[in-house]
């Protein structure tokens, strides 16, 4: 797609060209002699990024699609053969795969509203200028700059039966609550993963909300204030409609990230206990990397990609601009 040929065709005489748009007329006339050189340097500037994206996004994407229908292994003396839908047939009879789908659905359904809501509250808290606003912005963003792998390791320690979380629970309830073995119990393992995921990523979406909030004209609030509206009414009738575009952006990015749940699982639970935290991407990596079954993993990845496409198309439809 990026290897569009350079213009080699001889220059057409001025007269036969359609008139350039009036605003550009002067610049075009001046650029005309160097026009071909401009095309060349333009393509020269686009080419590095275009070639890299072609090589490391487009080609692997197409390859992944193709490999899903073969028996390719990462390192194998056997030649790669076409096997049709064998991989998919195996996939759709695998109970672990269904469990993974269910877990990812659970994770996504909880995390999308809760995380976007909390992120919006955080953005509202630091939207106005006040003393120390930069301090709060930095602190709210701290978990985001902390790598998910470090976060997972840290919370792994905090979630122990005798860990920090249970100690805090016990202290604030005066010893009434004895916390569970968070990651060791199939019922609490996923909620535990959800909590740390929200903790880590809310700050990122806060920044996007903040950008949206700052795009809303201050005059609207002044007008609303003159009308004697309450704070809630201002939020309801000025802020919320003003965040329309931001809202769909936040929802789409959180959903796609949620569907791709992997790092936390890989460090903390390896899909356990009893498959209660296994996910689609985790299954793909486990079969593709640990068991070297590139083709089977590609099939899982393909299903995952289709899922992402469907979900973002549905979201786009639901959050479309209604005239």
């Amino acid at each position: 797609m990026a290897t569009v040929p350079l213009p080699t065709r001889p220059r057409v005489p001025e007269a036969s060209k359609p008139a350039p748009p009036p605003s550009d007329a002067k610049t075009n006339a001046r650029r005309r002699p160097g026009f071909r050189r401009d095309q060349l340097s333009g393509w020269g500037m686009i080419a590095p990024a275009a070639v890299l994206l072609l090589a490391f996004v487009f080609i692997p994407a197409i390859l992944g699609f193709g490999l899903a229908f073969t028996n390719a292994r990462l390192i194998s003396p056997r030649p790669v053969e076409f096997v049709g839908v064998d991989n998919f047939a195996r996939l759709f009879t695998d109970p672990t795969f269904y469990r993974a789908l269910l877990n990812v659905a659970y994770f996504t359904v909880v995390i999308v509203p809760v995380q976007s809501g909390l992120a919006l509250v955080m953005a509202l808290l630091i939207n106005k200028k006040f003393r120390g606003v930069n301090f709060f912005r930095t602190v709210y963003f701290l978990p985001v700059v902390t790598s998910m792998v470090v976060v997972s390791l840290l919370w792994l320690f905090m979630y122990r039966k005798d860990g920090l979380i249970n100690e805090i629970l016990s202290t604030v309830s005066f010893g009434l609550i004895k916390g569970p073995d968070w990651l060791g119990d199939p019922i609490t393992a996923m909620p535990a993963i959800i909590i740390l995921s929200i903790w880590q990523a809310a700050g990122f979406h806060m920044i996007i909300w903040l950008a949206g909030l700052q795009g809303i004209s201050g005059e609207l609030y002044e007008a609303a204030q003159l009308d004697g509206t309450s704070r809630w009414q201002q939020f309801r009738y000025v802020t919320w409609p003003g965040l329309f575009h931001t809202r769909s952006l936040v929802l789409v990015t959180i959903t796609i990230q949620a569907l791709g749940l992997f790092d936390q699982i890989s460090v903390m639970t390896q899909g356990g206990p009893m498959d209660s935290t296994t996910t689609i991407v985790y299954e793909a990596v486990r079969s593709g990397y640990r068991q070297q079954e590139t083709s089977y993993a590609s099939a899982i990845s393909l299903v995952f990609f289709v899922l992402v496409l469907i979900v973002s198309a549905v979201q786009r439809y639901l959050t479309r601009e209604k005239d």
Binding site: L67, M148, T294
Partner: protein, 292 residues
């Protein structure tokens, strides 16, 4: 009336502080624990001492970390790989965005659309075919004066860098930012006889500071934090980045003080960098039209 306002803003401040405590407590706990011996970490857990550097404080855990894992080597690898990715990423993506937004290149609309289309492909779906693919790519190595040729990029530095240089989101960000810079500047420079590259370098880029800061952070973070990719493509210890070092702490009977020391060691540099760039980062996201 005035009292009510004061009361309300105090309430808001309280909520702000509450959120800040929730955001910060695990990180404070990590930093503080990294300075304590294991026994004390567990002993302090039921009191506020868990968040305070009190008692038997030392840097012993850090010293032990450097004994247990090749931490210096991992840090050096990560610094190198991230720095090269960031620098090349800034150059390649901004130059591309420059041509797409400020030059009249034929067919640029199609290219821009194709670039934006790559945004919907999550990296996780690419990762596995990409492993297979980079393993088929040719590899050139200059050995003395002879150019040696072999196949497969697995277990190299370049496999950690080259696939992550071009980035659609960075191009988009620069594109939006460049659009906001008046085009008359280009024309004035061209009348003065400047070529396009000179306009890029001396007119447009110096004005794009906040966009560059954002792209730098958004390229640096995943490069420094990458885990899945190096786990799959880098086997040799001397080529591995910091996040993989964490695997050395997965065994049983690990010292949690040392784990916290290693985790702090790989987190603090990022936090420092972030605080340095924080202002321009937030401003440029706010002004770059991430609004959607």
């Amino acid at each position: 009336m005035k009292n009510q306002l004061l009361f309300r803003s105090a309430g808001t401040m309280l909520v702000r502080v509450l959120f800040a405590v929730v955001a910060a407590f695990p990180i404070v706990f990590m930093l503080v624990s990294s300075l304590k011996p294991d026994q004390q970490i567990f002993g302090d857990m039921s009191s506020l001492a868990a968040f305070l550097p009190v008692g038997n404080i030392s840097f012993d855990n850090y010293a032990a970390v450097f004994d247990r894992v090749p931490a210096a080597r991992f840090l050096l690898n990560s610094v190198g790989v991230s720095a090269v990715t960031v620098v090349l990423g800034i150059f390649v993506n901004s130059v591309c965005a420059f041509a797409l937004s400020r030059m009249q290149v034929k067919g640029k609309k199609i290219v821009f659309t194709a670039i934006l289309a790559t945004l919907i492909v999550p990296f996780q779906t690419l990762a596995l075919p990409l492993v297979w693919w980079v393993n088929q790519l040719p590899y050139f190595e200059l050995n003395g004066f002879s150019l040696e040729f072999s196949k497969g990029w697995l277990d190299t530095y370049q496999v950690q860098i080259i696939p992550f240089i071009a980035n659609a989101f960075s191009i988009y960000l620069y594109h939006q930012y460049f659009e906001s810079i008046p085009k008359e500047l280009d024309e004035a420079a061209r009348i003065d006889g400047a070529g396009w590259f000179k306009i890029y370098r001396q007119v447009v880029m110096p004005l794009a500071g906040p966009a560059t800061a954002t792209v730098a952070i958004l390229t640096f973070l995943p490069a420094w934090n990458s885990y899945l990719w190096p786990l799959m493509v880098v086997q040799s210890e001397e080529l591995r980045p910091v996040m993989i070092g964490i695997q050395y702490f997965f065994q049983l009977n690990v010292s949690w003080g040392e784990v916290m020391a290693y985790a702090s060691l790989i987190t603090v540099p990022v936090v420092v960098l972030f605080i340095a760039f924080q202002r321009s980062f937030v401003n440029s996201i706010a002004s770059s039209g991430v609004k959607g």
